[in-house]
Symmetry: C2
Subunit: 493 residues, 2 copies
């Protein structure tokens, strides 16, 4: 059929979408979600997903094209497009197989991921794949296939050194900015540790948000390879380099129900390590009542899965099950976390001890894993690298290489102190509530906003003493935080 193109001037998610009116769709026996092949003379041809419009703005002999489709077809007013019915990609059958509980082969998973990256699948089709992975699970082999497919269908970074180090934290602990201390320590000692981090989705800050206060986190792949080869490392936003494109695409389908199928989560993490060529990796699994992993059984199970997958991918790995009972450091929110990090790197006397301890421990494990330190000596070397100022100097180099923001690190001007209502000892801190409060105060979009903790677990407090301070750029946002039981964030007995 020959149809006249009409432009729908918005760009929705890179997918090629074409719209017919109801009568035309019925005549061609097409339904929403079906595929059509569209050709514009000799210029270009594509497959598009079909939507059906119920009103008369698109006429019987017309085909509506969203911007990306219009552009891809090099459409000009007056063109006539040839439209024909196209087959579904073969991977639709594999997605159905997964829903039916089948184990998928490497080839089958690769077909699905290839289609995801090429934007050949609709959000609904991706949602079915996510459902299948969520309910039927992915076994170790499938997880490895998925990891490799994500890597092979995305960008990769390559560094000159043979040993490439990486780390990952399963998340859920506010203020946990060890990455910004571990990378300077490890790279100051001559190792290569290229770190791509995420932004916050529901938390008050992601490592990329915090690092962005100090430096540009949107360097391109070529520049990142130069920095990695020259000074050993960087801390950048992963979304800027398209390392695991499939992963970013699938988020559209996962977001509405916040689904995190375990195998998909594992593959997503390992793909990001694999795509920067990491072969020595530390996974941090914080455990606690208010983080993702609730108990030791879950933590050990997850650790075992990481070890198996890493072995199958040829990576050396260590897994640290850490304490996730309370936030790490005192600051929560991009600027407040930067203040903590810089205090640690400068080893100032009021630097948060728990952040030092955890970072040194992690760096120590990595130094031993890479044989840069003898067994039992890793932590000592890591601490010395901090104390000598070498890690701080290295951080300055990293910031300069990425693009120095010359941040003044001043928290937001409106503040509210939350005071203890009784004498006692801090018995519990509600991670989730603290995170909600920091986010409501404006973090991470307002980088200066957040929460600063004056008291941590086991600290003695007196009635009237400040437990924590809330910072906000906008006065109203302080008020919004009052929807929460602010004193309930601390249990004092």
């Amino acid at each position: 059929m020959k149809l006249i193109p009409t432009k729908i001037p918005i760009k929705v998610g890179n997918k090629y979408i074409a719209v017919l009116n109801q009568r035309a769709a019925h005549n061609f026996d097409l339904q929403p979600g079906d595929r059509v092949q569209i050709k514009n003379g000799r210029k270009a041809g594509i497959q598009a997903l079909l939507d059906v419009s119920e009103n008369g703005d698109i006429k019987d002999h017309e085909i509506g094209l969203y911007s990306e489709t219009w552009e891809k077809l090099k459409t000009k007013r007056g063109d006539r497009l040839s439209v024909s019915i196209a087959e579904k990609p073969i991977c639709i059958q594999y997605i159905k197989d997964k829903l039916n509980g089948k184990r998928l082969s490497e080839k089958e998973i690769n077909e699905i991921i290839k289609a995801v990256v090429a934007d050949d699948l609709s959000d609904v089709e991706m949602a079915y794949f996510v459902s299948g992975c969520y309910i039927s699970g992915l076994d170790d082999k499938e997880t490895v296939y998925l990891t490799k497919s994500i890597v092979n269908n995305g960008n990769r970074l390559k560094f000159k050194k043979k040993i490439v180090v990486d780390k990952h934290c399963i998340g859920g602990v506010p203020g946990n900015r060890t990455t910004m201390i571990v990378i300077p320590i490890i790279t100051a000692l001559g190792l290569t540790m290229p770190k791509t981090s995420s932004r916050a989705i529901t938390s008050p800050s992601g490592t990329a948000d915090t690092m962005e206060v100090l430096a540009n986190v949107k360097n391109n792949a070529k520049r990142l390879q130069q920095i990695g080869d020259k000074i050993g490392g960087f801390i950048t936003w992963g979304g800027g380099v398209d390392l695991a494109a499939a992963d970013d695409k699938m988020i559209r389908a996962r977001h509405p129900l916040s689904l995190d199928p375990p195998g998909m989560l594992l593959a997503s993490i390992m793909a990001k390590k694999h795509s920067v060529g990491a072969n020595h990796v530390l996974i941090d699994i914080p455990m606690g009542p208010q983080v993702k992993v609730k108990n030791i059984k879950e933590a050990k199970h997850l650790a075992e899965r990481f070890k198996k997958i890493a072995k199958m991918l040829g990576m050396k790995i260590e897994v640290l099950i850490s304490n996730g009972d309370q936030p790490i450091g005192n600051g929560i929110g991009p600027v407040l976390e930067c203040i903590d990090v810089m205090k640690v790197l400068k080893m100032e006397t009021d630097a948060p001890k728990d952040l030092i301890k955890k970072s040194v421990k992690m760096a120590g494990i990595l130094l031993e894993l890479t044989k840069k330190a003898r067994k039992g000596k890793g932590e000592k070397i890591a601490l010395e690298t901090l104390k000598s100022g070498a890690a701080y100097e290295q951080m300055i180099k990293i910031i300069k290489a990425q693009g120095d923001k010359k941040a003044s690190l001043k928290p937001a001007k409106f503040t509210k102190k939350v005071l203890a209502k009784r004498n006692g000892k801090v018995r519990a801190i509600n991670n989730k509530l603290i995170a909600h409060i920091a986010r409501t105060a404006g973090a991470p979009l307002d980088a200066e906003a957040g929460v600063y903790l004056h008291k941590k677990l086991k600290d003695k407090v007196k009635k009237g003493e400040a437990l924590y301070t809330i910072y906000a750029d906008i006065k109203d946002r302080l008020k919004y935080t009052e929807q929460y039981d602010l004193n309930g964030a601390y249990t004092i007995k």
Copy 2:
């Protein structure tokens, strides 16, 4: 936030959809699939699903509205809309529960269906519900809850008589037009039998497509109630009366993978019976190698489920497990099927015997179920009603009441005969292949197109004799059918 509306002039599936550009979405911490509350001054307020545009056609301070959203908000150029972040509907949690294998309560299922009917759920969210029902299954209770919810959230028809009869066939057998014979028989005998049928999705014709050759099948609910009360019955297109609106909405999510979760299928069928007030129902389950139900175990299992669900809904039911080895009647395609049906109703000498036999059997079962006939006497009464011409007269009344099309019942002009290549007996007829050929020839969109079978199972054939004739309106379409192994449709030995 106050935003300027900009119209996107297409209407996509009734859902309210609003579009922000990428920067605005990021600033408000919103992702595609999130919900926003939009108010237009005092005029109107709605919840819309968010999409995010990646180009500059929607400015930072603008919000794109598809036609239905624009109209619902009574938007005029120059309006300023208040937009705020809205919560997800509570049923999103229930959908996630279903994915996690939980059994849902009546209230929970009703919340989901209410949201489906109100267009509050995105296609992705519906796909997750379908996934959950597909993989975790729906037990009998959930199936009944789903049936009731679909009925309560859609239109209903009410008739004066206490006994309301209905039938349903699980499908998959080409030419199986018993409905158009059973309804005239049953209603000629004074019972009420209001029949809503579907159109073909992938088959060469649905009952609604075939009936549409003879009569209008788009009467509204009020008119159908009048017809039902006055003459006892009709044969109409279900999609025209919105009886099971939820069902029609979910097809958008089910179509891409052609998923038919058994519980959903059952609920969909029973809801259609329930919503016309049917309390005496016959379910026909054809069984054979090339229909939906392959063997007696499957058939009995399905029959048991139907019986249980019907009991829980307070319906009397009979289930007929019938032979699905070959097409019923000789014609396949709307007009060719009408020719068969009218021959049966007029009891012409060349009327297809298998269609008479099956129709009489089904009508007989219903007459006994409703106590209109004594046990063992149903078929006899049904056959007499055909022979006396009463059923034919009744069909003429039904056609007139719905709107007579005064069809001439002439098959398409281009024909191709497929000839036997050897002597022997017909041992098998490939239902699926015959259906593909009829569809490729143009059925059901070209009502005159299709296939007419000259030979049925166990018939003797001689080399060179015609097995079947293909009819097409467009000569090329005859040629297209040659992509199939036309002689392979018959096994002759």
